[in-house]
């Protein structure tokens, strides 16, 4: 173990970590938006919307992310749809994450006691307000820990976007390993950056849980 290999390549690793964070963050945010729509479709009273939601989840959760990324980047180009690498990377992460996030949100929504929405209707809340002010805030609070799970998995899965030519953390670690012939140091260095990113994310999750916790302790 030669720690100076990590120190010498610190700049490259930090830059690559920035790429990993940027791609993952965009994937998380867009995935959350699509995941919300998937969840809404799956709890909709309309049968055809529920079915579309179910097909979406089965497709994007069942097909490996690697295949989805290759499909978006290489296969769509066959039909003249030239997707830039960064768009393919973020899009692939977002589409696949949306299936998982949609399921998490649906579970949380089911766990909000029925009396809550009944009380809101009895008080004369409009349909949209029942969602915006009563159901969504409570569902979001319940779903924070599994959502943080999913975000951490997404950050680790973002190593796959190197197949469409994006130099993120894992790819740069591989390059350093082959340049210096010190694979152990290179991967430990990359791994420490992943750990740091995930610990910060988990910290944000704990903070959000504290902020949204029900007062009065339990």
């Amino acid at each position: 173990m030669k720690p100076d290999v990590i120190l010498n390549s610190f700049g490259y690793l930090a830059e690559a970590a920035g790429v990993t964070i940027a791609v993952s963050f965009a994937g998380i945010v867009i995935g959350f938006a699509i995941g919300g729509l998937v969840c809404a479709a799956r709890v909709s009273p309309r049968v055809w919307l529920r079915r579309i939601g179910a097909i979406y989840v089965s497709l994007f959760r069942g097909v490996p992310l690697l295949v989805q990324l290759l499909f978006i980047y290489y296969f769509l180009a066959e039909f003249g749809l030239d997707v830039p690498a960064i768009v393919a990377a973020v899009g692939g992460l977002a589409l696949s994450s949306a299936a998982y996030q949609g399921e998490i949100l649906r579970g949380a929504l089911n766990a909000v006691p029925r009396g809550q929405s009944e009380a809101a209707i009895a008080l004369g809340f409009a349909g949209a307000d029942v969602w915006r002010r009563i159901l969504l805030p409570q569902a979001l609070r319940i779903s924070i820990p599994p959502l943080i799970n999913e975000f951490i998995l997404l950050i680790k899965a973002s190593s796959l976007v190197s197949v469409v030519g994006i130099a993120e953390l894992t790819r740069v670690s591989m390059n350093i390993a082959s340049l210096t012939y010190r694979p152990l140091e290179a991967y430990v260095g990359g791994g420490l950056f992943y750990l740091a990113i995930n610990l910060i994310l988990a910290g944000f999750g704990a903070m959000a849980e504290r902020r949204l916790a029900i007062g009065g302790g339990r």
């Binding site: 709890v43 009273p45 989840v57 089965s58 959760r61 069942g62 097909v63 490996p64 295949v67 998982y100 399921e103 998490i104 649906r106 579970g107 949380a108 089911n110 766990a111 909000v112 006691p113 029925r114 929405s117 009944e118 209707i121 349909g127 029942v130 969602w131 159901l135 609070r141 319940i142 779903s143 924070i144 820990p145 599994p146 943080i148 799970n149 999913e150 951490i152 998995l153 680790k156 991967y187 791994g191 992943y194 750990l195 995930n198 610990l199 988990a202 029900i214 339990r218």
Partner: protein, 223 residues
């Protein structure tokens, strides 16, 4: 696409799929049990235990599965822990997934309305009955979709076991690709097996979910 070749390698692919399903189901089952125990223990009024478990969750969740598996399999003998490849693989899957399951169960228990627990206490239910008959059924409503998510992700993580020579599906597929120079056929076969597994898990999950949410009426009143 070479059907003849697939037919010839079918026995080794099926045996690999069997090993994959074995490692995934045993590792996932122990991960669920361990995760449940962690989620319960984190509710005890004993701060040092809570901090230790929080650290366990953050470390096993924050580092890649491959690294954990290497440390367990290659590093284990240094501390006197000698595991065979399959045993190390199963133990690794269980430890890794338990961190995620612990968070899922914690969120599930957090979603149980406080009034239900208070009501159970006030009618004089024993602590174990409160857990088994009130808290757990209510917690599972929020937890089951996330558990199914995680089990699917875990089934895909089992490919990593091929690196420590567990003869699971990925290992057999790589052997087939190396012996026949047909990467496409081998990977197609693998995709088909995985799709079968994920589809079965999703279906099973949907049935379990129907069972645990049976007492929620699903008509109207939701928005």
């Amino acid at each position: 696409m070479n059907a003849d070749l697939l037919w010839r390698y079918l026995p080794s692919l099926v045996s690999g799929f069997g090993v994959t399903v074995f490692c995934w189901s045993v590792g996932g089952a122990f991960g669920l049990i361990l995760g449940f125990a962690i989620a319960l223990a984190r509710r005890l009024p004993f701060p040092p235990l809570r901090w230790a478990l929080r650290a366990f969750v953050e470390i096993f969740r924050g580092t890649p599965f491959l690294v954990q598996l290497f440390l367990l399999y290659a590093g284990g003998p240094y501390i006197g822990l000698r595991l065979g490849a399959t045993a190390a693989g199963v133990a690794g899957l269980a430890l890794y997934s338990s961190a995620y399951f612990a968070e899922i169960f914690r969120a599930g228990f957090g979603a149980v309305p406080a009034g239900q627990i208070e009501a159970a206490i006030s009618v004089g239910m024993a602590p174990f009955d409160i857990l088994a008959r009130v808290a757990l059924p209510a917690a599972l409503i929020a937890a089951v979709p996330s558990i199914v998510n995680m089990l699917i992700i875990l089934s895909k993580e089992t490919v990593v076991l091929s690196i420590i020579t567990v003869p699971e599906l990925m290992y057999q597929v790589q052997t087939m690709a190396a012996e026949t120079f047909t990467a496409f056929d081998a990977i197609f076969a693998m995709a088909a097996f995985y799709w079968l597994l994920v589809e079965c898990v999703s279906r099973l999950g949907a049935r379990v979910e129907k069972r645990v949410t049976a007492f929620l009426a699903h008509d109207g009143a939701r928005g």
